[in-house]
């Protein structure tokens, strides 16, 4: 037994010295000597010692229209908390997240019947607005049928215990319209005081009765002293309508032809990656109307140069494309951060319109 304990301890000591000491030290030395940039995290140094602008390997968020956008991130691009959404196909949150993202930006295929002829094509958003207004209580039906969207709406800008505009509006509405609380009490006889998100279904039912075919949208109103405040008013068109009602609109058999005319979104644009830090998008995504057209419109110095700018940016994107495993697997990809840095160099942001 003593022999065995001695051998175990020697083995532990030898393993720790070799594996936790010598082995990492050797790698550390090789990294320092041969791959100093990679060993430090492949950081891109800014000009004039302004510090790093990011890591070549880590996705950086871009939300401004003049930039190409990376894939959505379940980790909010937080490179100290990597991870995916872990949502299965059967999770309503997954389909809802995608619909919320694409509803406000979708376009019809160029030249399709739904887009119509003429210089300004008709947009799916106009059709969603018209469809929404055609039946007075669509908002009520949506609030009672969906499990995630309405609650998310009520919790917009929620931080800690303080609700945003939407949550406060529900509270205020419930105070002014007693039927909201009554309806809630009827279905929850034993519960305590409701939170705004608990009241969404009766709220939207009541709102649709008062403002048929309207949506509680956020509008900016100028005050008498010149400042602007945001508040909620019944509106006919709102990005939230396009985001929240896209799924119902596309599922309505009456809109089948219009849905068939939608310009498809490349899958990587609407799906989160495994790490939440995937630095790439597909070339197809970058060149689609949902990216290239938006960036080009913003970066063109004037309307007359719109086409030439678009062509030049397309050339720039293609120059940045590569196919994994020396072209053996998959399709061409581009690194979003590197592409946007090159874009800023070629078309300085000062010229962005």
């Amino acid at each position: 037994m003593k022999n065995n304990i001695r051998a175990s301890l020697i083995l532990l000591l030898a393993t720790v010295v070799l594996c936790c000491g010598l082995y990492p030290l050797a790698l550390f030395g090789v990294g320092r000597l041969l791959f100093p940039s990679a060993a430090a995290g492949s950081l891109i140094e800014g000009k004039g010692g302004a510090g790093s602008q990011g890591s070549r390997l880590i996705a950086q968020p871009f939300t401004a229209p003049e930039y190409f956008w990376p894939r959505p991130s379940a980790a909010s691009y937080n490179a100290t908390a990597s991870g995916g959404s872990n949502w299965g196909a059967n999770n309503p949150k997954l389909r809802d997240r995608v619909c919320q993202q694409i509803g406000p930006i979708l376009v019809y295929k160029q030249g399709s019947r739904s887009a119509g002829a003429g210089p300004k094509p008709r947009t799916p958003q106009q059709d969603i607005d018209a469809w929404f207004a055609a039946v007075p209580d669509r908002a009520a039906a949506w609030a009672s049928a969906s499990s995630t969207g309405p609650v998310n709406w009520a919790r917009t800008d929620l931080s800690g215990e303080a609700y945003g505009l939407q949550g406060e509006y529900i509270r205020q509405w419930a105070n002014e319209h007693p039927e909201v609380l009554e309806a809630w009490k009827k279905s929850n006889p034993n519960a305590d005081a409701p939170k705004p998100e608990d009241l969404v279904t009766p709220f939207f039912a009541s709102f649709a009765r008062v403002h048929p075919g309207r949506w509680p949208g956020v509008v900016e109103v100028a005050q008498t002293d010149g400042t602007k405040v945001k508040r909620i008013e019944p509106v006919a068109s709102d990005p939230a309508v396009h985001a929240n009602f896209f799924d119902l609109w596309v599922s309505d058999p009456a809109n089948r032809d219009k849905a068939a005319d939608l310009e498809p979104v490349i899958a990587d644009m609407v799906t989160t990656s495994g790490s939440g830090l995937d630095p790439h998008i597909t070339l197809r995504n970058a060149l689609s109307v949902y990216q290239l057209d938006r960036v080009a419109a913003k970066r063109a110095p004037s309307d007359s140069e719109a086409d030439s700018t678009r062509a030049e940016i397309e050339k720039l994107v293609r120059a940045h494309a590569f196919t994994p495993l020396a072209g053996l697997v998959g399709e061409p990809l581009v690194n979003v951060l590197e592409l946007n840095l090159a874009l800023d160099e070629r078309f300085p942001t000062s010229a962005v319109r």
């Binding site: 083995l11 490179a79 979104v265 495993l325």
Partner: protein, 609 residues
């Protein structure tokens, strides 16, 4: 789509023959170099061991490592190399005690189930000392057990010496191989630094949010000595990532080339072990049959998973017919039809939870490999695999003998083989024997013990947790997919795999809850303790029972080879073995799969909208 898996498996098959021969030489101590390693080996040699002494040595050393690991983890706040950044200005604190138990058990047993997130909860010291030491040791233990079983089967008078075996593996196999792989990874972009997280100013200012004083927040990028951990994580089929996202993280797996390297890295030793088995026995045909059966099963798993995930778009984006749900006791519910979303998945498959840079079929390929081989590293989020694709990783862990973990997988296959010999022998009325040794009641008892501990440890706790709030309130997805998360967690723990349907809420984090970035999971302690115990039981019973079985065979007289002998080195026996694995596996696990991924696939999708 198919080029990637075919080349990964093909390359490994080619490499496995020379590597297997080399392993046999090293384990038999043939022509090992003199030097400091040999000097240490002489200090360790306690002489030839019987199976009981060998098993005792194995258990004792594991107990020492467990205590060592527990202390290193618990001492994290006091240890050096505790990096600080703006997210964790005070460095990393102490993990909750149940998580320490779980993690110490998990890394000891080669499981690497992680109820914490590497970049958030561990200091560089913990990563370098706790994680690395455990990874090297755990990789060796199953390997040693297999070597001892082989010595028993070939009729050696003793089982060798455990301490010497462990040291030879570490010094001559794992450290050199890890050094080579580490350098290759660094060349591709894997960091190797002790600097704290990098803080960078984003190109579009303010996009990470704005601080209280109005200045834009930086993007904080966690890094560290990743290149030291990554190679042994793969080569040792450990699978515990430096980062929460594991091999999906761009620092752990920077490009498609490193992805191939990591796949070959996790496959090479389990493949080569089968070759080593034949070489050490001097009966290469015996191992060829086993190799062929394993390769057949593995190919089927890869084929299924890749087909279901890369050739089929995510069902969440597809049109769904309307359906009426009739459930006893509940009012009939009609779910209206859903339209197809305008999403183009052509050539990409299901991209939710996948990285683009590895290529489209890389996620499901890695998923099938990492679970069949019992590694547990992931390069995509298994929770987001298509419902039917999720069967691939689940079956891989549940059979746990398709190459399997270091040594343990082959030992499991030998258990199936003994059972196959017994069944076939009974059916044709011949004395069941393997390698000339009669299989009798004692051997069958030991084989059944080794075989049954796994399904009991998977299905028992799964049923318990699915019925209790511990399970129901921890799932991240509704309906059958939530059940799959629970089933996956216990399959993974019992197979010593370590991957997860990661949505499951099982992370508590630091013991001082105020230091956690996310709220601690309510039932984290229940998950920590249950999976910790499952991992320990399912690790050591299936190692020790076959050791006893091999020793019992070793003691028997070899029966002469006659025309009446049932041969175990022919294709016919290969089919018998394949059938045994499939039939037993199906009988044990198919009902649970029907409740999980199959019900998930049948819908409704989305569930409970």
């Amino acid at each position: 789509m198919w080029l990637l898996p075919v080349s990964i498996v093909g390359l490994t098959v080619l490499l496995s023959v020379p590597v297997g021969r080399l392993l046999a030489r090293i384990m038999d101590g043939d022509r090992l170099p003199a030097g400091p390693f040999a000097w240490i080996e002489r200090r360790l040699d306690t002489g030839p061991q019987s199976w009981k002494q060998y098993a005792a040595g194995l258990i004792l050393f594991n107990a020492v490592i467990f205590v060592f690991g527990y202390l290193v983890l618990a001492a994290q706040p006091a240890a050096p190399l505790n990096q600080t950044d703006s997210v964790f200005p005070d460095g990393k604190g102490m993990l909750s005690p149940t998580t320490i138990f779980n993690t110490a058990a998990s890394f000891l047993t080669n499981t690497n189930l992680q109820h914490y997130s590497g970049e958030q909860h561990l200091s560089y010291f913990t990563q370098l000392v706790f994680i690395v030491a455990n990874m090297f040791v755990a990789a060796g233990v199953g390997f040693c057990a297999l070597t001892a079983v082989v010595r028993g089967l070939r009729g050696d008078s003793h089982m060798g010496n455990f301490y010497v075996d462990m040291w030879r593996l570490t010094a001559y196999v794992f450290v050199p191989a890890s050094l080579v792989m580490g350098v290759a990874l660094m060349a591709a972009g894997t960091p190797m630094t002790l600097e704290p997280s990098a803080e960078i100013q984003t190109v579009q200012a303010g996009v990470m949010g704005v601080g209280t004083n109005g200045t834009p927040k930086p993007q904080v990028i966690a890094r560290g000595p990743v290149a030291a951990i990554e190679p042994i994580k793969q080569l040792g089929t450990n699978g515990g990532g430096f980062f929460g996202a594991n091999s999906a993280h761009p620092y752990e797996n920077p490009n498609a080339w490193t992805n191939v390297l990591e796949c070959v890295g996790l496959l090479i030793f389990p493949f080569a072990l089968v070759v080593m088995f034949g070489v050490m026995l001097k009966q290469p045909r015996q191992s060829a049959v086993i190799y062929a059966v394993m390769l057949t099963l593995l190919s089927a798993m890869i084929g299924w998973t890749v087909y279901q995930d890369s050739f089929v778009p995510n069902p969440a984006f597809e049109s769904q017919a309307d359906r009426t749900i009739v459930a006893g006791g509940a009012p009939e519910k009609t779910i209206p039809a859903l339209g197809k979303l305008p999403i183009d998945s052509k050539g990409l498959g299901n991209t939710e939870g996948k990285e683009l840079r590895f290529g489209p079929s890389a996620g499901p390929t890695f998923a099938a490999l990492t679970t069949a081989i019992s590694c547990g590293a992931v390069n995509c989020m298994h929770d987001s695999l298509n419902p039917l694709a999720g069967i691939g990783p689940l079956i891989g862990m549940q059979l746990n003998c398709v190459f399997g973990g270091k040594g343990v997988g082959l030992v499991n296959m030998l258990v199936y083989l003994i059972i196959g010999v017994f069944l076939a022998g009974l059916m044709v009325g011949r004395t069941p024997e393997y390698l000339g040794k009669k299989i009798e009641a004692r051997e069958m008892k030991l084989a059944m013990l080794a075989l049954l501990v796994h399904p009991i440890m998977v299905l028992g706790p799964t049923g318990l947790f699915a019925a209790m709030s511990w399970g129901r309130e921890a799932t991240n997805n509704p309906g059958a997919h939530g059940f799959s998360e629970i089933l996956y967690e216990f399959s993974s723990a019992s197979a010593n795999n370590g991957s997860g349907f990661e949505g499951l809420a099982d992370t508590f984090g630091f013991n001082d809850a105020s230091r956690n970035l996310s709220t601690p999971a309510t039932h984290a302690a229940a998950w920590d303790l249950s999976t910790g115990m499952v991992m320990l039981v399912s690790r050591f019973v299936p190692i020790i029972a076959p050791l006893a079985l091999a020793a019992s065979l070793a003691r028997k007289r070899r029966t002469p080879f006659t025309t009446g002998t049932m041969r175990t080195d022919t294709p016919t026996f290969g089919f018998v073995l394949l059938g045994t694995v499939l039939l037993l596996g199906a009988l044990l696990f198919l009902p649970a799969l029907a409740l999980g991924p199959i019900a998930d696939h049948l819908g409704p999708i989305p569930f409970g909208r």
